[in-house]
């Protein structure tokens, strides 16, 4: 009786160990990436098969663009706040709101131009095939937001 119970428990324990072992081994690289200092860049490196030199170039470009991007974020936030205040007060489309919407639109265009410039630079720093793939992916995810409208809710 005891021996049978022992075999049953042993089987369950070994099965559980196999599950945990394979799960942790299978997710170890991803967990390490998430816990790294620059998870998004590490992901980029792996996803687009970048070598050391290519990764270094991409990381440099990313760092330079980051400060530009942060400044743009602040400008967008400020513009959104102004627009929000105007919209809260108005119940008709005033010239002031029109101006603010145009400014917000101009800011978006400026932001998209900066982004595209950065994406092109990054893609050029990658091996040609990977660069092409990167560009297709990033353009679809940033410049073609319409696809979200067709996603099921």
């Amino acid at each position: 009786m005891r021996q049978s119970a022992l075999i049953l428990v042993l089987g369950a324990v070994l099965g559980l160990c196999a599950y945990c072992g394979f799960y942790f081994a299978g997710t170890a690289p991803h967990r390490a990436r998430i816990e790294s200092q620059t998870p998004e860049l590490d992901w980029l490196r792996k996803e687009f098969n970048l070598g050391d030199a290519e990764f270094e170039r991409v990381a440099r470009l990313h760092d330079a663009y980051k400060s530009e991007c942060a400044a743009m974020c602040q400008r967008i936030d400020a513009k959104n706040t102004e627009l929000k205040e105007l919209l809260a007060k108005a119940d008709t489309l005033t010239p002031e709101i029109e101006n603010k919407l145009a400014e917000a639109g101009g800011l978006r265009v400026e932001c998209q131009k900066n982004m595209l410039r950065h994406f092109l630079e990054v893609s050029r720093s990658m091996p040609p095939e990977e660069g092409k793939r990167y560009l297709t992916w990033v353009k679809e995810k940033t410049f073609l937001p319409e696809h979200r409208m067709h996603e099921p809710h």
Binding site: L8, L14, G15, A18, Y19, T27, W43, C69, V138, T142
Partner: protein, 111 residues
């Protein structure tokens, strides 16, 4: 012998007229249900015993015991692999989104 005589008319009359006037105990219905539940639980215990005996006899055979352990290990291994792939894909997707947030001000999280 007189008491066992079927032709004993006075006794037969008394028996014909005899009516049992028994009243139910106060919690009769509850008691009945309790007995039914007890008997069913006993049945389950028997079922488990049969099942356990069957498993025990199987596990005592070395080939079956090894197969049992091997199958559980295979199941664990496959489940771990499938779950790891699923979670790795989810983490990849999250990291991709994080990259986009880091380069697109319109996708960056607002505080």
């Amino acid at each position: 012998m007189n008491g066992q005589d079927p032709n004993n008319e006075p006794l037969s009359r008394v028996l014909r007229e005899w009516r049992v006037k028994a009243s139910r105990t106060p919690r009769f219905q509850e008691e009945v249900w309790r007995r039914i539940a007890r008997s069913e639980a006993g049945g389950e215990r028997v079922w488990w015993k049969v099942c356990w005996r069957w498993i025990e006899s199987g596990v005592r055979r070395p080939a079956l015991a090894v197969s049992y352990v091997a199958i559980l290990m295979l199941v664990g291994l496959s489940a771990g692999l499938v779950q790891a792939r699923k979670d790795a894909a989810r983490m990849d997707e999250a990291l991709g989104a994080r990259y986009l947030q880091s380069v697109d001000p319109y996708q960056a999280p607002r505080h």
